[in-house]
């Protein structure tokens, strides 16, 4: 099982979609930095996240709060803090950073 991290906005780059394309069932995706914009409610990327089963989605709370989105994150996302980030890293066999 792999933890994928994505740090690019889906409105700026294809990185999030490329990651999804190569993300296997049972893996997880953690949105960080500008990657968290993919979790904004009622956007194409969030709709996509909500329609996918078999992949767990997370987003980093500090990055969400800094960008003023804490009320507007899709319910399909689990919000984690830095300690949660570390837990995710240890729970997965390897990490793949998409940037």
């Amino acid at each position: 099982m792999i933890l994928h991290t994505v740090n690019k906005s889906p409105f700026e780059s294809n990185t999030f979609l490329e990651c999804l394309e190569l993300c296997d069932h049972g893996s997880s995706i953690l949105l960080i930095e500008d990657g968290i914009y993919a979790a904004k409610k009622n956007t194409p990327s969030a709709n996509k996240i909500e329609s996918i089963s078999g992949i767990k989605f997370y987003a980093l709370s500090a990055d969400i709060e800094a960008r003023g989105l804490d009320e507007n994150i899709s319910s399909a996302i689990t919000v984690v803090d830095d300690a949660g980030f570390v837990d995710l890293v240890t729970q997965h066999q390897s990490v793949s950073s998409w940037f």
């Binding site: 099982m1 792999i2 490329e18 394309e21 190569l22 990490v95 793949s96 940037f99």
Partner: protein, 120 residues
């Protein structure tokens, strides 16, 4: 060092920044330690493999020449995402290194099997 397998996923075009070059240099350097290492080109990374790169006017080093050294470093075959080629209308005969075509299912499997993944 334990026998760890490394997978390098390459998904950026060459020249506009140094990411593509850094990825290949990482591969070359790792090969010195005789690690099990595979290279997968996907997304815009497939642009790196075009055979007809000419950089005299640009004044940069030729990225294609750097890639041509991979077999001497025992880094062959390289793998290429077939879908990324199709999306960009690139033919296999346009490419350096006679890469092996693979699909996203195979890439997922390679990622699952790798001990360490570098994604550039």
């Amino acid at each position: 060092m334990a026998d760890k397998s490394i997978l390098i996923i390459i998904r950026k075009a060459p020249y506009s920044n140094s990411i593509a070059k850094g990825a290949i240099e990482l591969a070359l350097a790792s090969s010195v330690f005789e690690q099990k290492l595979s290279l997968v080109f996907t997304g815009d990374g497939v642009w790196q493999l075009l055979a007809q790169q000419q950089t005299e006017t640009l004044g940069d080093k030729n990225h294609g020449k750097l890639l041509s050294a991979l077999p001497l470093y025992d880094l062959e075959p390289v793998f290429v995402d077939e879908q990324a080629l199709n999306q960009r209308s690139i033919e296999l005969e346009d490419l350096l290194l006679q890469p092996e075509l693979i699909n996203s299912k195979t890439i997922k499997k390679m990622m699952a099997d790798a001990d360490t993944i570098f994604c550039f």
